[in-house]
Amino acid sequence: MEIKLNNVSHSYESQNPDVGLGLDDVSLTIRDKSFTALIGKTGSGKSTLVKHINALLKPTSGTIKIGDREIDSKTNNKNLKPLRQKIGMVFQFPESQLFEETVEKDIMFGPMNFGATEEEARESAKDALKLVGIEESYLQQSPFDLSGGQMRRVAIAGVLASNPETIILDEPTAGLDPVGRIEIMDLFKKLNKQGKTIILVTHNMDDVADYAEYTYVMQNSKLVGQGTPKEIFNNKELVDSGIVSLPQSASFAKKLAEKKYVFDQLPITIDELSNMIKEQLENNG
């Protein structure tokens, strides 16, 4: 399912004249089954943009094409359920959306809303919980008895249980420990390999470098750059103006380059960095 934004602008309805546009003439395409990252400073409009993709917000002008569905400013609020089933959204700190008595019921909530029978919902709850790496024995526990990390996983399972084709992630690893971060991100990479489109909103450039195939850069409600992570981190203009910061490997390589090392392209992952260093050491003897 391809997602295409055509000249989308959004202005928040507000009495306060200081609040400007949420989105300013953004056009972009998210290819089917891709792993796309959306980066930018706080308040650059990333979250506003992703809320358009499952019609929580509607564009003030422009259109959004999601598969064969088109959304513009006049789109009716009814009949959006099929769309929202196809596009799952994991919000920031999703653990705050848990509410049912048991983990099982909470995960079943999504599928049931989208019209699954109780049996089907129970089945998908079990599968989703397994997917996020939590044992089945937790199904009958209260979600409020779990640890923060487990709650996060249950909340993510609640989104995955509806079997969405596209998954939007708004900083899914914020506040997680390093191990938790890698586990969660690997899960999404796996889902991506299984044919799901992943849209990742993040501040963490290492996540972008390690996982994303394509990256869009937002600044002041505008789209200011796009390309593969490699192109983005090698884009002098974006990096020097401070819009994009570098992942750890790249900033380390930059420091090495001040000594005698030479990089035609900045390495963005640890593997790339170590390979490049190894090559140069071998060549120079």
Binding site: Y12, S14, L56, I87, F91, S96, Q97, L98, G110, F114
Partner: protein, 266 residues
């Protein structure tokens, strides 16, 4: 939804009204609402309206804000005014139909009611637009101070009030966020019958309560670790200053009262 509510919001600015002592503003607003009921004829209402419009002018805030502030109350205003208009008994009605009757007296009284609404809403909107919530809670604390002598826990009440005010916008944000999250999971708010609508709020209310509990817990721990014991014997960082200009406002409002009493007797 929340954007449309003007009353109770603060609008950053800097004019004479902003610089007045919040305690004075707070008391004067309440006093003014009290004396609105003294007005009983055209001249007295004109005086009140002039006073309010002058205050609005001094605040340097666009009058459009105040007019928008009327909107949420529109139904109540129209309802009351119409009721007054058609149910005021009169010996000489212009038009009569069963118990309904339209008379000059009725229309005049309805007009007064309308003006009363406008004046009260304008002045209270002016208070909240020009005074930060924290200033309001400081003034309440300072005004309640005498109640300490009857063992009323003034500092505790003031603390709860300022914490509550601080967390209102946070909880509104949280509510919007949770609503969005549940909508993404397929909840329809405001659809279906009454029972279904009420039920659809459970997935918002429970997370909201849960997060309030955890906020309260974290806040209490943070306060204790920063050395908070109880309200007694604390010094204050924000000091309120009663200035010369505040004396003038008291003078003006006293003058207004006197004029009102004079005009009223005619």
């Amino acid at each position: 939804m929340m954007d449309k509510l003007i009353f109770g919001r603060y609008l950053p600015g800097d004019s004479i009204i902003y610089r007045l002592d919040p305690r004075g503003k707070f008391l004067i607003t309440f006093y003014f609402i009290g004396i609105v009921f003294l007005a009983n004829n055209v001249a007295s209402y004109a005086l009140l309206l002039a006073f309010v419009l002058f205050s609005v002018y001094l605040s340097e805030i666009n009058i459009g804000f105040f007019i928008k502030g009327l909107r949420p109350m529109l139904f109540l205003i129209v309802f009351t005014v119409l009721l007054q208009m058609f149910f005021t008994p009169s010996t000489d009605p212009l038009w009569k139909f069963g118990v309904l009757q339209l008379s000059t007296d009725g229309m005049v009284i309805a007009g007064y009611i309308l003006l009363r609404f406008v004046v009260i809403i304008f002045i209270s909107t002016l208070l909240t637009l020009t005074t930060t919530p924290i200033e309001i809670s400081d003034s309440i604390e300072s005004i309640l101070k005498p109640l300490r002598y009857v063992k009323f826990p003034v500092t505790q009440v003031a603390l709860s009030l300022s914490i509550a005010l601080r967390f209102v916008p946070l909880l509104i944000d949280e509510t919007v966020k949770i609503m969005d999250a549940q909508r993404a999971r397929g909840v329809d708010f405001g659809e279906g019958g009454l029972l279904k609508r009420i039920k659809s709020f459970v997935p918002i209310l429970i997370p909201l309560f849960v997060s309030s509990f955890s906020i309260a817990y974290d806040l209490a721990i943070a306060m204790e670790s920063r050395g908070y014991k109880d309200g007694e014997g604390r010094t204050k960082y924000r000091q309120l200053h009663w200035k010369k200009i505040d004396n003038y406002t008291v003078l003006v409002i006293a003058l207004l009262t006197v004029c009102l009493l004079l005009v009223r007797s005619y």
